[in-house]
Symmetry: C2
């Protein structure tokens, strides 16, 4: 996942994600009508939960994607294979409708990367290019900054001919709140370094592990700046560089072979289990199909694909179909800018009110511990009943969270969202590293996730009334 | 460290390392005379222990070597810098005598390594060349063997044009006993694969971690066989390959650029704190200065260098010098065949009886929990008194263990050995991987090690009488 700043701010403050501004007249539920979950739907929730907990389906799907496709960088040869995989998997799992929607984006390629301390303490350092970095070989003195603010304070020209090093150490937290300041170093650092005259940028990885596995992730360069090679050091290598700097000046050679290379069109792959009475209304659950290239994208985000595909299958296996359809979206290229999420929101801009509620699983495979939605006041009782059905899974109502990253575009257009908050304590040990592999996933926790998504999707699809999705009055399209 | 099979067999069986066959007449202690530790020496042991426990010296030395030199593959440019570092560090620490002794060996070079699954599940796998492997690019179908015995059973010619994969999973154990069968796959596997006709060899790393960091280590090819590219997969990559093989045939391309490249002469670097009354008699403690190239050789074996250098300094800081000298040896090129250890034993073949007792620290930086020696019967009481002085450090007398790898050659020539057994539960998470870096060392555990070595060295150097070192009757030189 690529947590966006807005979501992060929300997570940090444990505040509710701002509900979209709504045109009250567009609300699908008549004034005074309360959305409710029928007792008959609640009666099946326990069975659904138990079935999902006992099933290995989410694991099997996750295993299949990570094993058969492996790393699937957006725009790579594996991206196309992943799309074919998803179409075939939806079909194999018995989804009623399977289709794709195109997503076009600039293509970024990583070929090689290397860094060497030069001089009397000559040694290689383990790092990885940030997504979006240009290639190039630069050699210069390292200037260390304890954090982003210190780099921002560097006078223009003060880093001429030098390589900036931001040594900020990200904090571990269950809700991932440490990633806010950590990822800001990645997104803002390169541009700030260039402003101060730097010829290159390196950072301590935005991660909480202690392995020689650097954390990649997208960066961007401000308009008008000439991009410079930008990379993240593995945590032990940032430690090493800091120790070397404590002894005196350090010269580094940074050699990256990577960069932008034209455009690519991938696909959002969508599978739907058709609803019984309101088939054009959908509960959307999903995850992103692409991954960074260093690992096999197991916790980010094959797990989400496994959880949401399995949840829909479990719902469809009940003795009757829910009223509304369950739509599972495998988003293209989340990592490099929510491209799949924006494309989906644009393609479905006229159907916002048809989206009963939307939820994305993109924070690993830790147990879900919290639940929240953006439900309007008239749907609070329905939200409470869903929470009641989730409670046996160890999930509590919460005021925190927000939509998954790919759903930010559509929630900005007025879709109601749900948040099933996963325990992310270990997530940033693995996120965007070579270590993001299947063995890091606990099958029982994965089944708990699938059970939670199944119960949520079933009850939301059975609700009498809506959760507040409605076209926003202001047509601020992203 | 490179645990040799003999030592491993001993560790597995928790048996005493075989005492060297001795010429009783050469025993330096007259028949009937018991070696004893003087009360005056015991009286200072507590003070020495406390000083060492409170000192950061072992850490400071380890930090210096890993930071300033970094990886130090035998024969590399960093090997020469490590030798200079060791000479300067001995001098800086106030050793009375510092000298070097040449060690010549064939030089092996690693340039690059890569493996790719080909075909419909195309993806890279993380691996590293085994030390001693030739370079080359081979492409062929993978044939999996659950363990070495299964590969040994493969008929000649059955692997023609194929790549053998030994998928044996090493077990975790405090005493490292899982490394016996694990490292046998590495040492024997390539030759067995060649005998069956294979064009390449890959193995699940001999390690206990779950990170994308493969474990290197030396291998050898039997006489008369044409070596083939041989490498170890990171544990998650071995898992991945096994999963792919469960789906059907797998084609792998293995591309290694590495190989032997002439000879190199490095140095054993030796520092000595001169004894007060028997200065020509030495208690030898040591570790190896070289490391594999993937990490900075922190637990293997900068820690041993830090522990033993610091121990000698702590002893020398007492109010009086011990009777015998404390000699610290930083051995050259242990990793590729105990070259420093053999060179030392050859250079000092005439002085075996001058070596009161020898001990090498080469099993990481975990707390020492066990103590044993090869002491002759007449020195058992002295051994018991040393154990008594070590007990407050949480160390128990044991019948297990053996000499460190670099000391096997000299113990075969008749030197008595001591074993200060370290907790190796986590050692094979790091051993020979990129992850062998300073941050993995617990400073308190390191200080406990230095305290144990200091107490042991002090008491052995103060002993009245010997521990059984004597030239062996049979001149079986290695």
């Amino acid at each position: 996942m690529r947590l966006v700043p807005m979501l992060l701010a929300a997570a940090v403050a444990a505040a509710t994600f701002p509900a979209p501004a709504r045109d009250a007249a567009a609300d699908a539920t008549p004034a005074g009508a309360e959305t409710r979950i029928p007792d008959a739907a609640m009666a099946l929730a326990g069975q659904l939960r138990d079935t999902a907990l006992a099933s290995s389906l989410a694991w099997d799907i996750t295993e299949s994607l990570t094993t058969e496709i492996g790393p699937r960088l957006a725009g790579s040869e594996a991206d196309a294979r992943a799309v074919e995989w998803a179409k075939a998997k939806f079909a194999e799992l018995g989804f009623d409708r399977v289709w794709t929607e195109p997503v076009t984006f600039p293509k970024w390629v990583r070929r090689s990367e290397r860094a060497d301390v030069l001089g009397p303490h000559a040694q290689p350092l383990a790092l990885t290019a940030l997504g979006g970095s240009p290639g190039g070989t630069v050699e210069g003195e390292i200037v260390r900054f304890a954090d982003l603010a210190a780099l921002e304070a560097a006078p223009a020209g003060s880093l001429a001919g030098k390589i900036a090093f931001v040594d900020y150490r990200m904090e571990r937290a269950r809700d991932g709140s440490g990633y806010g300041p950590g990822s800001r170093v990645r997104s803002r650092g390169p541009s700030e370094a260039i402003r101060a005259g730097a010829i290159g940028f390196v950072m301590r990885s935005a991660g909480t592990d202690s392995h020689r596995n650097p954390h990649t992730g997208i960066t961007r360069f401000d308009e008008g700046l000439e991009p410079v090679p930008s990379a993240a050091l593995a945590v032990p290598d940032a430690d090493q560089l800091a120790r070397l700097l404590a002894r005196g000046p350090v010269q580094l050679r940074l050699a990256l072979d990577c960069g932008w290379d034209g455009e690519y069109t991938s696909q959002n792959v969508i599978g739907e289990m058709t609803g019984s009475s309101l088939p054009d209304d959908v509960v959307l659950i999903g995850a992103h199909l692409d991954s960074w290239d260093l690992g096999t994208g197991a916790v980010d985000d094959a797990a989400g694909i496994g959880i949401t595909m399995a949840a829909a299958v479990h719902v469809a296996a009940l003795e009757r179909r829910p009223a509304r359809s369950i739509r599972v979206v495998a988003f293209a290229n989340e990592e490099q800018g929510l491209h799949g999420g924006y494309a989906y929101a644009d393609a479905h801009a006229a159907d916002i009110a048809r989206h009963q509620i939307v939820a994305e699983s993109d924070f690993g495979a830790g147990r879900i511990y919290a639940f929240n939605t953006s439900a309007s006041a008239h749907a609070e009782a329905a939200e409470a009943r869903i929470a009641e059905a989730l409670a046996p899974l160890g999930i509590e109502r919460s005021d925190a969270g927000g939509p998954g990253p790919d759903l930010i575009p559509i929630t900005r257009k007025g879709a109601a969202w749900a948040w099933l908050g996963q325990d992310g304590t270990d997530y940033f040990d693995l996120h965007h590293t070579p270590d993001d592999t299947l063995d890091k996933i606990d099958p029982d926790a994965l089944a708990q996730n699938a059970a939670a998504y199944a119960v949520f999707a079933w009850l939301a699809a059975e609700a009498e009334g809506d959760f507040g999705s409605a076209q926003v009055a202001t047509a601020a399209s992203d």
